[in-house]
Every structure is written in structure tokens, then in C-alpha cells.
């Protein structure tokens, strides 16, 4: 069975500082990887996804993530955060033969002025 672990439940960071949100997954088969963001009182929105090819994936709002197969990780990074990045971030995986997303527990990113 597949599973996703987000190692940090909360990440406080000052505005304009860099941030990394960690995600590790477990699967015996190849997976596709996603990061979603949930702003307060809004629905989940796709930030980026890794399907194949280059292991460095760029997404919206200046975020990027790197797929590391040997470490089964897909960490999310941003070089300089803004107050508006304050939100809940979810890492997720799915298999090639199903659309079922398996989510991690989420990481709350709190950007302080």
C-alpha cells in the first residue's frame, strides 16, 4: 500500500526567508507526486506535480519541488516566502492506474512579518 508522510506539522518562517516543506512517500511501484495548497476557507489548489522526466518541477507562485527516487522524497521549496503563502500544504501520491489521491497529513506554513 502507498503512504505519504509530511514530517513537519507546522513550519513558522519569517517573510522573505526560504522555506522547505518535507514529504516522503512509501510505495512498491512507481507513483505520481503532487503538492496541493489550501488557503483559509478555500478549496485545495494544485501547486505542482511530478509525472516523469526532469526531477525538478516548477509550480505556481514561485514554488518548486524535487523528486528524489532513492530517498523517496518530494520536498517543496520556495526561496523567498510572502505573507500570502500562509496556508496548509498537502503532499499526495497516486498510481498510474487510478486517480485516487493519497494525501499526507498536511503542513501548516505560517509566514510572519
Amino acid at each position: 500500500a502507498q503512504s505519504v508522510t509530511q514530517l513537519d506539522s507546522q513550519v513558522p518562517v519569517f517573510e522573505e526567508a526560504p522555506v522547505e516543506l518535507r514529504c516522503n512517500y512509501s510505495s512498491s511501484v512507481s507513483v505520481y507526486l503532487f503538492w496541493y495548497v489550501q488557503y483559509p476557507n478555500q478549496g485545495l489548489q494544485l501547486l505542482l506535480k511530478y509525472l516523469s522526466g526532469s526531477t525538478l518541477v516548477k509550480g505556481i507562485n514561485g514554488f518548486e519541488a524535487e523528486f528524489n527516487k532513492s530517498q523517496t522524497s518530494f520536498h517543496l521549496r520556495k526561496p523567498s516566502v510572502h505573507i500570502s503563502d500562509t496556508a496548509e500544504y498537502f503532499c499526495a501520491v497516486t498510481l498510474s492506474n487510478t486517480g485516487k489521491l493519497i494525501f499526507g497529513q498536511g503542513t501548516t506554513l505560517q509566514v510572519k512579518p
Binding site: L44, N97, T98, G106
Partner: protein, 116 residues
């Protein structure tokens, strides 16, 4: 165009009652998904429709939960004999093709269900 919409946005019911939650997917999307998000947790898969049929219902917790999508568009999640543990935000998502895992799923704002 419009995104995924869900109604009602909030539903309060009493233990033992029956509830229906509605999802309107993005027009033209053939795949539709239901997830449940409990407080402090990530969304948990319930069921996935490809067209009118349930392609994967492995996430439904028990036989009190049932979902339909009779015309391949709007879907209704039905919960019988609600229990306090059913309290959660129920999320609906749709994608253009479904089937494989590469499709982007677009999520609605959710229905917050509270069972008293």
C-alpha cells in the same frame, strides 16, 4: 468557467439522521472524486466515478455511505444513520479524463458536516 461547486456549504444534523451532499463538477469532466477531511488531517479518499459508474469505491468506510452519479455529471453522497464520527469536511473533485493518475483534480470548497 465555473469550478467545482458543492452544496450545502454547511450541514448540521442529528445522530441517526440521513443526509445528502451534492457535487457539481466542472462541465465536461468525466471523472469525479469524493474525499473526507477530518480536523487536522489530510483528505481521505472515499470513491471515484468514471462517467456514471463507480470505478473505485474502496474508501467508503461502511455500508452507511453511498454515492451516485446517474447522468455522469452531478453526484450525490448519501450517508444513512449518521454518527458523530462522520463529522468532517466532505470534498469533491473532478478531472477531465480520470482513469490514470496524471490528471489534475480540481477541488470544490467542501461541505462541512456536523453530526450532533
Amino acid at each position: 468557467g465555473a469550478g467545482v461547486s458543492q452544496t450545502p456549504s454547511n450541514k448540521v444534523t442529528e445522530k441517526g439522521k440521513y443526509v445528502e451532499l451534492r457535487c457539481d463538477p466542472i462541465s465536461g469532466h468525466t471523472a469525479l472524486y469524493w474525499y473526507r477531511q477530518s480536523l487536522g488531517q489530510g483528505p481521505e479518499f472515499l470513491i471515484y466515478f468514471q462517467g456514471t459508474g463507480a470505478a473505485d469505491d474502496s474508501g467508503l468506510p461502511n455500508d452507511r455511505f453511498f454515492a451516485v452519479r446517474p447522468e455522469g455529471s452531478v453526484s450525490t453522497l448519501k450517508i444513512q444513520r449518521t454518527e458523530r464520527g462522520d463529522s468532517a469536511v466532505y470534498l469533491c473533485a473532478s478531472s477531465l479524463n480520470g482513469g490514470g493518475g496524471t490528471d489534475t483534480q480540481y477541488f470544490g470548497p467542501g461541505t462541512r458536516l456536523t453530526v450532533l
